[in-house]
């Protein structure tokens, strides 16, 4: 990175403010669609930070995968469960909010004490910069070959499993064909169904 130091610092400040601001928006806004778009903002500003950290390849991967795949997936999810549902307020919900906020502030205080109190072993070598793309490829096919191959099995299975779970079954499954199975019932029959959402919206059995 050849930018002057001052420019870097300003850029960092800007991006950091964007990250924190949009992340707070994701968590605090009441409209879920705004949150989803702000999440895209978080991802984009983080990829800007990666550029500042001399990692162009990961910055591009961040945009492609997080913004292009995860964020779009979440937007699809919001559309598919499209229900403007007023959440009935929980009694004394504010106590929980304040307690959680306190715990999170405490966690942040702990982490920042740790970060500032540790002497990090800074390296003096020059960063590889854009050569990192080649290096990452080398790593994938040498010392990180095993996790790389395992990740392929994981992705295949996530694909299969997500399709199984999300697929709507149009054809009802035929009942077991053997005649004697009248004696056997479904292994798990729900004991009591609490009507969720509106009245009478019990799940089809």
């Amino acid at each position: 990175m050849t930018l002057a130091e001052g420019v870097q610092l300003v850029l960092f400040g800007l991006l950091a403010a964007l990250v924190i601001g949009t992340a707070l928006g994701v968590v605090l806004l009441s409209n879920i669609v705004y949150s989803a778009f702000l999440l895209g903002g978080v991802f984009l500003s983080i990829s800007g930070l990666y550029v500042l950290l001399n990692a162009g390849f990961v910055a591009a991967a961040q945009i492609l995968i997080y913004v292009g795949a995860v964020n779009v997936l979440i937007l699809f999810g919001i559309m598919l469960v499209n229900k403007s549902q007023p959440f009935t307020p929980v009694r004394r919900g504010w106590i929980r909010l304040i307690a959680t906020g306190g715990v999170c502030l405490g966690l942040f205080a702990l982490l920042s004490t740790m970060i500032l109190g540790t002497s990090w072993q800074l390296s003096t070598e020059t960063p590889v910069g854009d050569g990192a793309t080649v290096l990452i490829g080398m790593h994938f096919f040498s010392d990180f070959l095993l996790p790389f191959e395992l990740a392929s099995v994981l992705l295949l299975m996530a694909l299969v499993g997500a399709i199984i779970l999300a697929r709507r079954e149009f054809v009802p499954d035929e009942p077991p064909t053997d005649a004697i199975s009248d004696a056997l019932k479904l292994p798990e029959r729900p004991r009591e169904l609490v009507p969720a959402g509106r009245e009478g919206s019990e799940s089809p059995e």
Binding site: M138, V153, M157, E188
Partner: protein, 529 residues
């Protein structure tokens, strides 16, 4: 980098068992794709055959001269072989349980088997993972497949809900674990291999700095979630109650074993610098798990929830072995895991059989079962009594060994808590047994009065019967004929350089820093020989 050399350096033969599992997985997946619904006739047997082949391959790898493979990503030492074996065995035992269950619920069997084999694969790699990236990817493989399995009965709202809770809590805990790992990467100055990290901690030579403590806490949060130790256990009862019962059987043995393998490798290899602190934390976790698991189990009305709390308590007993950290401690833990495999899976097989025949898993519905199905009553009684630790069943010897190891290492408090809580646990196991053998017909529950005729010739029940008998025979005899298991557990500990180094260090506790500095390079040289 020279790629022809690389192939020979990889030492890929070490992961042959995992390779066999992957091959089986692909055969089942593609075979099901081609054959359609007719594939249910052969896929479970193909799965069992493949997994058994993996066991054979594991046996041939015992005491291999070069355990380190994939340039240090994977460690195939004897410790990992035992843990991988337990995980594969639990998967093999889960297959016959699930055939009839999945058939009756009208979902497809092949995908279930494939996802379960992926979970097995993740657990196996987790048992031998030797760098941070492999640990993370293997852990996520195990976790994501477990979420999918939990939600597999997608038309049952309880299964959905269990999957959702498991996913949210699991993803959060793995993110926390990951934050801890990123701190480890930073604190060690950019190292990924476990032993290099611990060497750089020793080289830094500071007395338990705050950074390492924070990393330790975050890492323990991730591990404790996997082994369901109190207070990271809240997901367990819900997930166990809601998910399909064969999945619960696998989670309670396979996934927990993988968690313990991760705990041993990560804590022993990376955190010798803060050894006192993590022993303290695990002592607390063990006491809390034993007390809370056993006490809350008393109040349960659902059999699956009862077994959930019982599994939390069993994790507490297992942690005693980890905490004392002597040779006997580690091998008693492995011995108990081996026995726990048989008795817990046997218990779950009985629960599945009962729910297949009656459609319920409430404890009160079990009353009078003896009148209708003496075999099931006998098997369930043996497994439950063994879990409770009644002599001469296997569980008694497992507990005896753990308590003996703990007592010898001077962990008197832990052993006393363990003894008292085991007595409590006997009460709730016996309560179920007593309920099943009531004599008076009027005390019989509705489910029992309408109990269907006992027959084993329905499709899918024959394998269930065989596995039930095998598990019960193993549970009753493993205690008396425990010598092979005992030797196996002992050898796996004494042939593992990592544990030997840790035990030597434990025996010279006062001079912590100098021995570590000499041991850690020795371990690396042994490991890379």
């Amino acid at each position: 980098m020279d790629f022809t050399n690389l192939a020979s350096q990889l030492n890929a033969g070490i992961i042959l068992p995992e390779g066999i599992v992957v091959a089986t997985l692909l055969v089942v997946l593609v075979g099901d794709l081609i054959a359609g619904r007719a594939s249910t006739r052969w896929t479970p047997y193909a799965t069992m055959a493949g997994l058994s082949l993996a066991i054979v391959a594991l046996i041939y790898q015992w005491d291999t001269a070069t355990p380190l493979s994939f340039l240090g990503s994977f460690m195939g030492d004897d410790l990992s072989i035992v843990f991988r074996g337990i995980i594969v065995l639990s998967a093999i035992a889960t297959v016959p349980m699930s055939i009839r269950y999945i058939e009756q619920s009208g979902t497809s069997l092949a995908e279930f088997l494939v996802i379960m084999m992926t979970a097995t694969l993740g657990g196996m790699f987790l048992s031998g993972a030797n760098d941070l990236v492999t640990i993370f990817v293997a852990l996520e493989t195990l976790s994501i497949s477990s979420y999918l399995l939990t939600g597999y009965m997608k038309r049952d709202p309880r299964s959905n809900e269990a999957a959702l809770k498991y996913l949210l809590i699991g993803a959060a805990s793995s993110a926390i674990f990951l934050y801890g790992m990123s701190l480890l990467y930073g604190l060690s100055g950019g190292k990924m291999k476990l032993l290099e990290i611990s060497q750089s901690f020793v080289a830094a030579d500071s007395d338990a700095p705050i950074g390492i403590i924070v990393a330790l806490v975050f890492v323990i949060a991730g591990i404790a979630f996997k082994i369901a130790a109190v207070p990271f256990h809240q997901w367990t009862p819900d997930v166990y109650e809601g998910s399909p019962t064969p999945v619960v059987a696998f989670l309670s043995v396979g996934s927990k074993t993988a968690g313990f393998a991760l705990a041993i490798r990560l804590l022993v290899a990376v955190f010798p610098v803060v050894s006192e602190q993590w022993h303290f934390v695990f002592t607390a976790l063990a006491i809390l798990s034993m007390v809370l698991g056993n006490v809350v189990a008393l109040a349960q009305t659902s059999m699956k929830r009862l077994l959930a709390y019982s599994s939390i308590a069993q994790a507490g007993f297992l942690m005693i072995g980890l905490v004392v950290g002597t040779e006997a401690g580690y091998s008693s833990m492995i011995f108990y895991l081996l026995i726990y495999l048989f008795m817990n899976l046997g218990g779950f097989t009985c629960v599945i059989l009962f729910s297949l025949r009656t459609g319920t898993d409430q404890i009160s519905e079990y009353s009078g079962l003896y009148q209708k199905d003496p075999l099931l009553t006998l098997c369930l009684s043996i497994c439950l009594l063994s879990l409770g630790g009644i002599p001469p069943l296997a569980g008694f010897f497992g507990k005896l060994y753990i308590f003996w190891a703990g007592w010898q290492a001077g962990a008197y408090g832990l052993v006393l808590v363990g003894l008292v809580t085991s007595v409590i646990s006997i009460y709730y196991y016996i309560r179920v047994v007593k309920m099943m053998v009531v004599k008076e017909p009027q005390e019989m529950s509705d489910a029992i009065s309408n109990y269907p005729e006992v027959r084993w010739d329905l499709p899918g029940l024959r394998p269930l019967q065989v596995s039930l008998i095998l598990a019960v025979v193993a549970t009753s005899l493993a205690g008396i004929l425990s010598n092979p298991l005992f030797t196996l557990a002992n050898n796996s500990v004494s042939h593992t350089p990592l544990l030997q180094a840790a035990i030597d260090q434990q025996q010279a506790p006062k001079a912590v820093v100098p021995p570590v500095a000499t041991i850690a390079p020795a371990v690396t040289s042994v490991a890379q020989r």
